[in-house]
């Protein structure tokens, strides 16, 4: 369970994210949605410790995130961002294996896991021998997903995972990623501005407005009873 209690991050007087109170139960799949600049990515960065709240705190399984517990938490996190952020000097296979080697997994275990992950994201092992720049954007994102899943994370944190892809590969991957996420039992927090993507990847939507939660519901409820004109506008803009 991830808990955000009064989490606030202040950039300047006009740009404040929070205070946000949010609970993500174990195994839940939650999407943080809203237009750009609403603070959804900042919230995810606060959760994973890349930003530090000015007030309030983030807790995982009831324990506040501090440098020591953050490290323990991060080992159980799979993190995927829109630009894949693969290490360009390492072959794709080494990008994926890096963390398993760091965790001192024996090489036969690593090999087996690589096979498993490759078939999960539908990449051939041959392709993995290439460098990231030799792959297409969609393939790179698949490799990054393999890297995120390498250690079998309990928490999957996805920050606009498909936003940088062209529309066709994006559609294709949305379906695939949605199906994949649902076969995993990881607690999932996904940030996206795309309502369709949110629905494919998550069961519950947290719609943000200027750094605060505007509505927190499952998708049918969100569509059926929008709380405000802001929500209605967002739904209308996102299309049917």
């Amino acid at each position: 369970m991830i808990t955000l209690a009064g989490v606030t991050r202040r950039f300047d007087d006009a740009n404040v994210v929070g205070p946000v109170d949010l609970e993500i139960p174990t195994g839940a799949r939650v999407a943080l949605i809203g237009p750009s600049g609403c603070g959804k990515s900042t919230l995810l960065r606060l959760v994973v410790g890349l930003a530090v709240p000015d007030a309030g705190h983030v807790a995982v399984e009831g324990a506040r995130l501090e440098p020591a517990s953050l490290s323990v938490f991060r080992r159980r996190v799979g993190y995927l961002t829109q630009d894949a952020a693969l290490f360009p000097h390492l072959r794709c296979v080494d990008n994926v294996a890096l963390r398993m080697r760091e965790a001192k997994r024996p090489s036969d275990v690593i090999e087996a896991r690589l096979d498993e992950l490759a078939s999960l994201v539908r990449l051939s092992r041959d392709l993995l021998r290439r460098y990231p720049f030799q792959l297409s954007g969609g393939q790179r994102q698949r490799v990054a997903l393999m890297r995120a899943l390498a250690l079998g994370p309990s928490y999957l944190l996805l920050d606009e995972p498909l936003a940088a892809l062209d529309p066709i590969s994006r559609r294709e991957l949305q379906e695939e990623l949605g199906a994949l996420v649902r076969t995993l039992s990881a607690t999932t927090l996904v940030v996206t501005h795309d309502l369709r993507e949110a629905e494919l990847l998550a069961d519950r939507a947290v719609l943000l407005r200027a750094g605060r939660i505007e509505q927190d519901d499952d998708f049918p409820a969100l569509r059926a009873t929008p709380k405000s004109d802001y929500v209605r506008d967002f739904l209308r803009a996102a299309g049917p």
């Binding site: 994973v48 410790g49 890349l50 490290s71 991060r74 080992r75 996190v77 993190y79 961002t81 630009d83 952020a85 693969l86 290490f87 360009p88 000097h89 390492l90 072959r91 080494d94 294996a97 890096l98 963390r99 080697r101 760091e102 460098y131 990231p132 720049f133 030799q134 890297r147």
Partner: protein
């Protein structure tokens, strides 16, 4: 991943081994001689001093005393400090300069006073050689200076271009004292190397220069020495000044030189070197052969190519050692310093600022600062080269690490990779190309700067350059300049190979693809 690490290790080991071999090659002669004390003769960087240094060495060797010539050290200040700090045992000097070195002014000392003053420094007056070489001002007898006879006439001649050696301009017993004695403060002399002054005078780009009264060119170029009508220039008797610890045999051998060099002899020796292209060693050989019953015959001069090979053999290993040992030290200190400076911004600014300041110190001045601490020779040269090599390496390490993209840095953080894994497997490989560029810059700077090291007796390709400048001998300058230039070019090649070896393949291939896309 393992392979990457291994590659880095291999590069480091190879570098260290290479340096080790070089150092051992270069230091062998020193070890071999360590048992018999070799008399170290110094000399300044102009023909007469070089010839006298060679003569002293020849006389010592003839008497069975092992001796070596630390030829062509920088100016008076460097040779004097070298003698004081026991880095050399003796060198030819002139009484006026000696008193100036000792007391900082131009008092005239009686021989007894001079001996007493030197004794305080643990030094002694050696034999007077038999001629005086006083400072003089020389002009052409034709043209603008046709009617210029004495120094006092200069006061009204603002139309003349004065070209003096840097040493003369800076000395109290040179231009500083002269201009105040004669009221010439309004004239602004140009500084140039003494070796180039006569050519400049001949070409008419200067009208007047400082000269020594035994300069061969005064007679050969039919120059006029201006009358020192207010008796400013002190007495410059040529002599040897030596450490008191010099052995009895050595002192006795050198004493045979007393009074043997008349002004005519000295001018002839100078002419052999300055005008007839003989080396100081050849001139000295002729002189010492004249002392012996065999009489002197000059051997034919070797070809440029064989001289070049000789320089490569004699100075190549030393030059490489100077460049690479200082470079290795700069890498070993500079990269960690860069990592530290990247991690702590405040410290980083301090380190970069400090390295920047050190970088701006002119190399000769840096060497002069280091002499009181390390004496002359290899150690201060290595220190200076290390300091110059440091800034590009530290700066490029910081820049390279700064350039690691935020996305990759954050990915590594969230992956909870250990500090050492992040540094060794992510950050440094990603910064490797920039760091290597810094090392290359430092290496090339060092090849050039190492030629200056000859001024403080550290050897290297600077030896023929320094001596050649002193003799205004272009051939000899080229003997040092060509190998140095070739070394710089060879380094470019070496770093091209190093690039393949130490920059991760993924980065190289990616860079190449980017280049190809950009080219039409």
């Amino acid at each position: 991943m393992k392979r990457m690490k291994r590659l880095f290790l291999r590069a480091c080991v190879a570098l260290v081994l290479g340096m080790g071999v070089l150092v051992s090659i270069c230091s062998k002669p020193a070890i071999a001689h360590a048992e018999t004390p070799v008399v170290r003769v110094g000399s300044k960087r102009f023909p007469e001093s070089l010839i006298l240094g060679e003569i002293a060495v020849a006389v010592l060797r003839r008497a069975g005393v092992p001796a070596e010539h630390r030829a062509g050290l920088g100016g008076t200040a460097i040779v004097w400090t070298a003698l004081q700090s026991n880095a050399i045992d003796l060198y030819p000097e002139y009484t006026g300069s000696l008193v100036h070195n000792l007391l900082g002014d131009d008092r005239r000392l009686s021989p007894e006073e001079l001996t007493a003053a030197l004794a305080k420094e643990d030094l002694a007056v050696g034999p007077h050689l038999g001629f005086a070489n006083t400072y003089a001002l020389a002009v052409k007898k034709t043209g603008k200076t046709a009617d210029l006879l004495s120094i006092s006439q200069l006061a009204t001649r603002s139309d003349l271009v004065l070209g003096f050696s840097h040493e003369f301009i800076g000395r109290d017993d040179g231009w500083v004292g002269l201009s105040s004695r004669y009221g010439l403060g309004s004239l602004a002399p140009k500084g140039l190397d003494h070796g180039l002054a006569y050519d400049a005078l001949g070409a008419g780009s200067i009208d007047l220069t400082d000269a020594y009264s035994t300069d061969a060119r005064i007679a050969r170029m039919d120059l006029r020495v201006l009358d020192d009508d207010r008796a400013f220039f002190p007495n410059y008797d040529a002599m040897l000044v030596m450490r008191r610890s010099l052995s009895v045999e050595a002192t006795r051998a050198l004493a045979t030189l007393a009074g043997r060099l008349t002004p005519e002899t000295m001018r002839a020796l100078n002419a052999a070197v300055e005008l007839d292209g003989r080396t100081p060693a050849e001139a000295a050989e002729r002189f010492t052969d004249d002392l012996s019953p065999r009489g002197g015959v000059l051997r034919p001069r070797p070809s440029f190519l064989s001289d070049l090979l000789g320089v490569l053999r004699a100075e190549g290993p030393r030059h490489l050692m100077l460049v690479f040992v200082s470079l290795l030290a700069a890498v070993l200190i500079g990269v960690p310093l860069g990592i530290l400076a990247h991690a702590r911004r405040g410290l980083g600014r301090l380190v970069l600022g400090l390295a920047g300041i050190l970088q701006t110190i002119p190399s000769l001045a840096m060497l002069a600062f280091l002499i009181p601490v390390f004496g002359i020779g290899v150690t201060p040269a290595l220190c200076a080269l290390f300091v110059y090599a440091l800034l590009p390496i530290v700066r490029n390490t910081v820049v390279g690490l700064d350039e690691v993209p935020t996305a990759q840095r954050e990915a590594a953080m969230v992956m909870d990779l250990s500090v050492s894994t992040r540094l060794l497997q992510i950050d440094l490989p990603l910064a490797s190309r920039t760091i290597l560029a810094g090392v290359k810059t430092s290496a090339i700077i060092n090849v050039g700067t190492a030629t200056i090291a000859a001024f403080i007796g550290a050897g290297g390709f600077g030896v023929p350059i320094s001596t050649g400048l002193g003799l205004s001998d272009t051939r000899m300058i080229l003997l040092g300049a060509i190998p140095a230039a070739c070394l710089a070019i060879a380094l470019e090649g070496l770093f091209f190979v190093m690039d393949r070896w130490s920059v991760p393949e993924g980065l190289r291939l990616e860079g190449r693809q980017r280049d190809e896309r950009q080219s039409p």
